[in-house]
Symmetry: C2
Subunit: 205 residues, 2 copies
């Protein structure tokens, strides 16, 4: 590609911003020109917040959610109900469920759903660690709170099979108040809250 701007440095910065999801070259240029107008300390602070995050952020060793500590604030909170674990796909889903204020248990963040199309196998997800966690005892109920998609359903099925040895364990899914093909993180809070309250036993259809 030919050079488009009068500055290679500018070109490179725009290229980097344009790699971000949903950011085109016009938007990237606008953002970069905005950064150019800020003072050096502010821009350094911006860049630092990114590198520090990437280098220092951890995943909670219990629930695998994004955390600054070895064990996250939810898992280490004595007021949360340790006997109920809600299995979610990612960080945003934890945010979405926390926003409903309807759930007081702990989480287990899978890091995705099983998706042969995207090359995501069960071994890429935190499924074994979930089974191990249940095996340690103290968990009465697993709520499968995955997106209502084919991949989510497949993952629900896979997990329920993996957990079938624990005969006393109650496995539930979110009530089907959420529409088919909806992404969990974009579901409105009332619908999502109700579907947690009205969760039903998991059955294989």
């Amino acid at each position: 590609m030919n050079q488009q701007y009068s500055s290679v440095l500018l070109e490179k910065a725009v290229d980097e911003f344009a790699k971000l999801p949903g950011i085109g070259r016009k938007t990237a240029l606008r953002l970069v020109l905005h950064l150019l107008k800020l003072d050096v300390a502010t821009v350094d602070h911006f860049a630092n917040s990114i590198t520090t995050l990437r280098h220092d952020v951890k995943h909670c060793r219990v629930c695998h959610n994004i955390s600054d500590e070895e064990v996250c604030g939810i898992c280490s909170n004595p007021l949360r109900d340790e006997s109920t674990v809600c299995v979610v796909e990612n960080f945003q889903d934890v945010l979405a469920i926390e926003a409903t204020t309807q759930f007081h248990g702990l989480y287990h963040v899978l890091g995705g759903v099983i998706s042969p199309m995207d090359g995501i196998a069960p071994s890429d997800l935190e499924i074994d660690s979930l089974v191990e966690r249940v095996g340690k005892g103290g968990i009465d109920e697993i709520i499968l709170a995955l997106s209502s998609t084919m991949e989510g359903d497949t993952t629900n099925f896979f997990i329920s099979r993996k957990l079938s040895a624990f005969t006393d364990l109650k496995i539930t899914v979110l009530a089907r108040g959420i529409s088919v093909n909806d992404e969990l993180q974009y579901t409105d809070e009332v619908t999502l809250g109700r579907s947690i309250v009205n969760r039903v036993p998991f059955t294989i259809k």
Copy 2:
């Protein structure tokens, strides 16, 4: 504000992204979570491209456009017509005019337009350096290519007054009228009115 996420580092990075123009907190979170998924080297490269740009980018000492060198590629190009200088507001305007391939002279980037509402005075802009540049001789025509707004018109007026001492200098503005491919019925009244008053002889191109 209360902490919203399970990680202060994440919170800070989202805060920084959300300061960018046109980026809300949801988009900021999406961008930051995307960066978290990339490997460390890629994220370092991204952050570096921003700090390097801010620290090392220069403004051409002739036209004040963004440049990696003391004198930019347009000003140092011997094929460009040095006798015609196009006065623009900012870097994007240079890009826009270059994209037309209709202009072969040099530029002068003001860095904005006079705007008392935004606290931008003539002394904040590269107007004195324009007068100085014209004073050195060799410039036959100044094209005022500012936005067709009250601020643009004010700036045009101010510059033309400042340059009035150079009696041989031709000062022009961009032609104003209806846009190419515009439907007449949707053109605003002021533009349409002006384009009737300033009508030109019909020629077959």
